[in-house]
Amino acid sequence: MRNLTSLLFAGGLGFMLLAIASGLDFGAPPMLVGGAIQSTAPQETGATNIVTSVVLGYRGIDTLGELSILFAAAAAAGLVLGRRHTTAGTLTEGGFVLKHGGAMLFPLLMTIGFYIIFHGHLTPGGGFQGGVILAAAFFLPLLARPGARLHHGMLSVIEGFAGSSFILIGLAALSEGEAFLQPMLVQDTLGQLVSAGTLPLLYLAVGLKVGAELAGLLSHLAQTESEV
């Protein structure tokens, strides 16, 4: 009975929301803020990827919050799962292809990851996407060899420094008498690799942090067997 009610309720809710949403003017957004950003972003931040200028510039503090959420999730997961990991031999070793393929892919993934991070202000992609690829690079060997373990200490150092350098860059602007997280060193080289001032640096921090965070999280999840 309750199942049926729930189903009806959910459907009804969706239907009503649809009725509300159909009143929206689809495909012609007001673009109040978006439009303004589109026209000023290249000058203000020097990044051709306007999404990047939004992510790191206009809404930089969102990104900082987002990083913090990842960090918090990782820390919380760490708290929940604890530090004791059993690299139990119960899991079978990966096969030949997985093992060696993983080893071969590792440098490739690293390269792609960093490429995407460094070109985040120019092309689609950026710190998040690159970071995830980096995390995959580290996680792949783990799948192949369950016995292997990531160097958690290293990861946490990376993540700590990456996160704090993001803030430090922001604070640097503050110490220069500008607003927190204000882009600095904006060169007049739109479209070049070395452009957009501190944005690539921020993206690097983001990428490293995301990478380390996800890798840590994944390895936690993969390796936790039981608390004894």
């Binding site: 109040l32 930089g60 503090i61 969102d62 919050g65 150092v157 803030i167």
Partner: protein
């Protein structure tokens, strides 16, 4: 000077990121980072308050002018909340040193930072981000108590909160689709034309329900009893005392600035009334202290929602008075529950074991019930005069429920007080009666002193709150402040 206001928001994040690294090398140094940062945050905010910088002012993050970039809006209310966050963070600091110290303290710092962000931010989506950060940090801290029940309650809370987030996000998406902006001040300008319709109302309601999860809005507050019963007392105190109020703050800002529809407040009124009824009635039968406090907290938040539904500035004053009063009281009570957390029956004769704790409990109870001249009375007085002034019968129902709930509240609180002061059970030696831990008791005493001080200086406190409410209720001031002076860089 006013630029530095961003530090209480950023430094805890910074500290949180660095803490694991520092802890790795030296725990004794690391243990000082958090308190130092929070103390510094308190100092900055206090200094800001004292320095007499013209409030309110707006601070653009990254130097981008407000509708495009994100701005912090600092008025007296925001400053007060931010200060309370930092101070409570300090008071509820998880000092315990063990293997997980770094993570726990980092989470605490993140929670403080996010809460500060909630208090200060002037951008809808940014609020959402900080809200989520609060949520995640909270989950971590609840689960940190390590019991299976804590995990179970966390996951239940997490799922509920997750749905809430989805709804909030949906509401934000609707608002953005309609208006194309997220800045609260900008929205406030656009709202009369663009959001004064069903779509706007739907968006508000989805956000209300989403944010209501944290604000213990009935009926999405079912997590509260189990979470407060399983989490560490300090975490519960922070959640019940502060986080719920910050969620309320979001709703308050939305109401004042954007959504003026009568339906919006009516929904809150009805849900608030239901919250009061269910919370207080459930507390009547609660058999353990924590859940009693949890239910009582639900009831109190319900009262605040009722107050929030009063559309005038007087209502806002009532909201603030109730909010800060409940903040003091409930934090203090949860501190006492640290040690008194078990069954109520076990507390027979506890006053002999710890007279101070019992006295503080009685003090808090009296204020919660609203005995003059304690501050609780003035809060309730403000509320009922405002409620009675409304013409809609729904408000009178609210008034009645509120008054009846107070009676029930008095009954269950003083049943416990009578138990505390009654004779101990015959087979229990006095040493085995539970007693709040020293540190918690000291913290609770601080809250008690604060309460008494507020009672003593009720006139200036009242004036201050009216001033704050006046500022917070002024939507034009908000808009003008944000768009006139972006502060900071330029």
């Amino acid at each position: 000077m006013s630029d530095l206001i961003v530090l209480p928001l950023v430094l805890p994040l910074f500290g949180a990121f660095l803490l694991p690294i520092v802890m790795r090398t030296s725990i004794s140094i690391g243990a000082w980072i958090g308190p130092a940062i929070l103390a510094y945050g308190c100092w900055i905010l206090g200094d800001q308050w004292m320095s007499g910088t013209a409030l309110p002012f707006s601070l653009a993050i990254g130097g981008f002018a407000p509708p495009m970039g994100i701005n912090l809006y600092i008025d007296s209310l925001a400053l007060l909340f931010a200060f309370a966050v930092q101070l409570l963070g300090l008071l509820f600091w998880p000092f315990k040193i063990d293997q997980e110290t770094a993570r726990r303290q980092a989470l605490m710092l993140l929670l403080v930072a996010a809460s500060t962000g909630l208090a200060l931010s002037g951008d809808l989506f940014n609020l959402y981000v900080f809200y989520e950060l609060v949520a995640v940090a909270t989950f971590g801290l609840i689960a940190a108590s390590g019991s299976s029940a804590a995990y179970a309650s966390t996951i239940r809370y997490l799922i509920l909160s997750g749905i809430g987030s989805v709804l909030t996000l949906l509401g934000i998406a609707l608002i953005y689709s309609q208006t194309g902006t997220l800045n609260l001040a900008h929205l406030a300008q656009l709202a009369p034309e663009q959001l004064n319709n069903k779509l706007g109302l739907t968006a508000f309601l989805t956000i209300l329900i989403g944010v209501g999860v944290k604000a213990e809005l009935f009926p999405v507050n079912t997590w509260a009893p189990e979470v407060y019963a399983t989490a560490a007392s300090r975490v519960s105190a922070f959640l019940a005392g502060l986080v719920s109020k910050l969620a309320l703050l979001i709703i308050l800002r939305l109401l004042v600035l954007i959504f003026h529809q009568p339906e919006a407040v009516q929904v809150m009124l009805v849900l608030g009334i239901l919250g009061v009824i269910t919370g207080e009635l459930a507390a009547w039968r609660a058999k353990d202290v924590r859940r009693m406090l949890a239910f009582s907290s639900i009831g109190q938040l319900g009262m605040i929602f009722i107050a929030l539904a009063i559309p005038e500035q007087g209502g806002l004053l009532a909201v603030l008075a109730l909010t800060f009063h409940h903040l003091l009281i409930k934090s203090g009570l949860f501190m006492l529950a640290d040690g008194w957390g078990g069954a109520i029956e076990k507390l027979r004769g506890a006053a002999k074991r710890s007279p101070l704790a019992a006295a503080i409990f009685v003090l808090f109870s009296l204020s919660l019930i609203g005995m003059p001249p304690l501050p609780g009375f003035w809060a309730k007085f403000t509320l009922i005069t405002q409620l009675a002034a409304q013409t809609s019968p729904l408000y009178l129902i609210g008034l009645t429920v509120f008054l009846l709930a107070t009676v029930i509240e008095a009954a269950y609180l003083f049943r416990l007080a009578a138990l505390l002061y009654g004779p101990a059970a015959e087979d229990t030696p006095i040493d085995t009666i539970p007693k709040p831990a020293g540190l918690s008791l000291a913290t609770a005493s601080l809250f008690g002193i604060g309460l008494l001080a507020a009672a003593l200086f009720i006139t200036p406190v009242g004036d201050l709150l009216s001033h704050v409410a006046g500022q917070a209720a002024n939507a034009d001031l908000y808009i003008n402040t944000v768009f006139a002076g972006t502060g900071g860089s330029q």
